[in-house]
């Protein structure tokens, strides 16, 4: 059983590693974003009044841990597109005709893509450590664990959507319309304290919000969600994140079992 999960994980990682240009592109993208967006706002929002807004953090320390989470989110969700490539280039048939249970091969695939998304997040975070001295490296292992749980959930979501789709363009369209609002609503770039109520409610529906807050808490010691909603403790956030990810993984396994070729 583990065999079938392992081999698909192996394949996803191998493919990722082979696409060196994609990795280079990812690093460059991250650098540019952090430099121009991160530093830009960090210089704009300097001063004691903003420290209050960010609960004692400066903007970079506020932004960087969240960026770790959102970059994992984007990469993992996008991972579903490989299911569509496999449909188009035929490799999917090879997997579907194998005696290995489909639910396990897809789980292996989700794990593999989760690992590569973590790699993406870690590149981002390495830059973060270079830019700011306020991040706590001791929180890194647990932040990675949180990132992993989230990544499994969102790769599964990507896979579930991709299983029903035919063209990469259509998938990209959906990914675009889902990732953009979720990233903005997650409280990664601005604190959610000041936004209107309805926006806060939307933010609380999205599991990414919890992942962002948890990563921020473990890397800087500050949880902004907790200051708005005292009942929302770290434990509850972790449980919510775990439940969502497991549910999404389960849905992906079920949907992929029904995939047929035509």
């Amino acid at each position: 059983m583990l065999e079938h999960i392992y081999i698909m994980t192996y394949r996803q990682i191998k493919r990722f590693w082979r696409a060196k240009s994609r990795i280079a592109g990812m690093i460059i993208n991250n650098i540019l974003w952090l430099l121009f967006f991160g530093l830009g706002w960090a210089y704009t929002l300097r001063g004691p009044q903003f420290q209050i807004l960010f609960k004692g953090l400066d903007y970079l320390a506020f932004l960087l841990p969240a960026t770790f989470a959102t970059s994992i989110f984007q990469a993992s969700f996008m991972g579903g597109i490989s299911v569509i490539w496999d449909k188009q280039f035929g490799f999917l048939k090879e997997v579907l005709v194998a005696p290995a249970p489909r639910s396990l091969t897809i789980l292996g695939r989700a794990l593999g893509d989760a690992v590569t998304s973590i790699a993406n997040g870690l590149i981002m975070l390495a830059l973060g450590f270079a830019l700011s001295s306020k991040l706590n490296p001791q929180g890194l292992p647990i932040a990675i664990a949180i990132g992993f749980v989230m990544a499994v959930g969102f790769t599964s979501m990507g896979i579930a959507i991709a299983s029903t789709m035919r063209s990469p363009e259509g998938f990209q369209l959906i990914v675009g319309t889902i990732t953009m609002p979720m990233t903005l609503l997650s409280g990664s770039m601005f604190p959610l304290n000041m936004v209107p109520n309805w926006m806060q409610i939307l933010a609380l529906v999205s599991p990414l919000t919890y992942a962002v807050d948890l990563c921020r808490y473990h890397l800087t010691g500050v949880s902004l969600l907790n200051t708005i909603y005292p009942w929302l403790t770290q434990e509850i956030e972790i449980v919510l994140l775990l439940v969502t990810s497991l549910t999404l993984a389960f849905i992906a396994m079920k949907m992929f079992e029904k995939t047929t070729i035509e």
Partner: protein, 330 residues
């Protein structure tokens, strides 16, 4: 004899389009069985049903002793499939493609390594094993797919148009591999093709399929004898008027003198008739300069059965695809 594939009254409908319309056939262990027919005749649909990728609308298909609908997992364990369209991972090496396949089929460790080496050497790709598949030629990919399908030593191998789109030289190569698969491993092979010569050369038995129905089934000899006679041409040093009246052989349907000292004999089976004809001519001390004969091809059989050439029906493939898509959109 043990039957590896038993198909009874198989039907597959896509909406209102019937791609497979109630076909029945058996394939014996160790046999090479071919589906010959134009594009869109239902060949690929049939292979996909037998390989458990599609569910039949009705009818029964038993592969390697298991029902494809009830026990697809057991069927999958016993079959290897080479699809019509490529199904390799382009970004991995040939070796990695086989490695992943092996692990998906439960092979591992030393045994897997040995199998990979054996099948790669079998298709002459061992020296290219560390090259990324993207750099392989069309023929190399097809060979790699055959190697991959054989890796887990399946009882039955499905080949969907194994030489489609390959140049003639490569095609001959692939034929060699397929023939030696049967010889060396005793694998049962089910293949589809729309090339007459492929069906004739490779298959022990051929089913001619058209519009989702099997319209004829037998060895290619049997199929060709359906449309009657071979024609034997014998060129003689000199011809006298009554040469025809001197030849009496079984199954002779006609004899006439045609231009240039040549006689044309219509016989049931040229291979048996030629020695008899020669011995008659020899007895009358008539010198034979040349002997040739023309046999009906499977194409002649197809024309005889359907009234059209197999090649002229390329358009119907698109037609079916279009109708399928329309049916799905409803």
């Amino acid at each position: 004899m043990e039957q590896d594939i038993v198909v009874e009254n198989l039907v597959k409908k896509y909406g209102i389009v019937e791609a497979v319309r109630g076909i029945s056939f058996h394939v014996a262990r160790g046999e090479i069985f071919g589906f010959l027919g134009p594009n869109g005749a239902g060949k690929t649909t049939t292979i996909h049903i037998l390989a458990t990728l599609l569910k039949p609308t009705s009818g029964k298909a038993i592969v390697a002793g298991y029902d494809v609908v009830i026990e697809p997992d057991k069927v999958r364990r016993n079959i290897g499939v080479v699809f019509q369209d490529p199904s390799l991972d382009d970004n991995l090496t040939g070796y990695e493609n086989l490695y992943i396949h092996g692990r998906l089929y439960g092979l591992n460790g030393q045994k897997l390594k040995e199998r990979i080496e054996e099948v790669l050497k079998f298709v002459d790709l061992w020296e290219f094993r560390y090259r990324v598949v993207r750099t392989y030629s069309g023929g190399m990919r097809r060979r790699l797919e055959i190697a991959r399908a054989m890796l887990h030593t399946p009882k039955i191998l499905f080949l969907d148009e194994p030489t489609l789109g390959l140049d003639p030289q490569t095609r001959v190569h692939i034929w060699e591999y397929i023939k030696s698969l049967k010889k060396e491993y005793g694998t049962t092979i089910f293949l589809t093709t729309h090339y007459m010569e492929e069906a004739e050369l490779l298959c022990d038995r051929v089913a001619i399929i058209d519009h989702g129905k099997i319209i004829a089934l037998g060895t290619s000899e049997e199929l060709k004898s359906m449309i009657g006679s071979d024609i034997v041409y014998v060129k003689l040093s000199k011809v006298d008027g009554d040469v025809c009246s001197r030849i009496f052989i079984e199954g002779l349907n006609g004899c006439k003198i045609i231009e240039g000292n040549t006689i044309a004999l219509q016989v049931r089976k040229a291979s048996e008739a030629i020695p008899a004809i020669l011995s008659y001519l020899d007895r009358f001390e008539i010198k034979v300069l040349e002997v040739s004969y023309r046999r009906p091809t499977l194409n002649d059989v197809f024309i005889h059965l359907t009234g059209r050439e197999m090649r002229d029906t390329e358009g119907s493939h698109l037609e079916v695809a279009r109708m399928r898509r329309r049916a799905r959109m409803r």
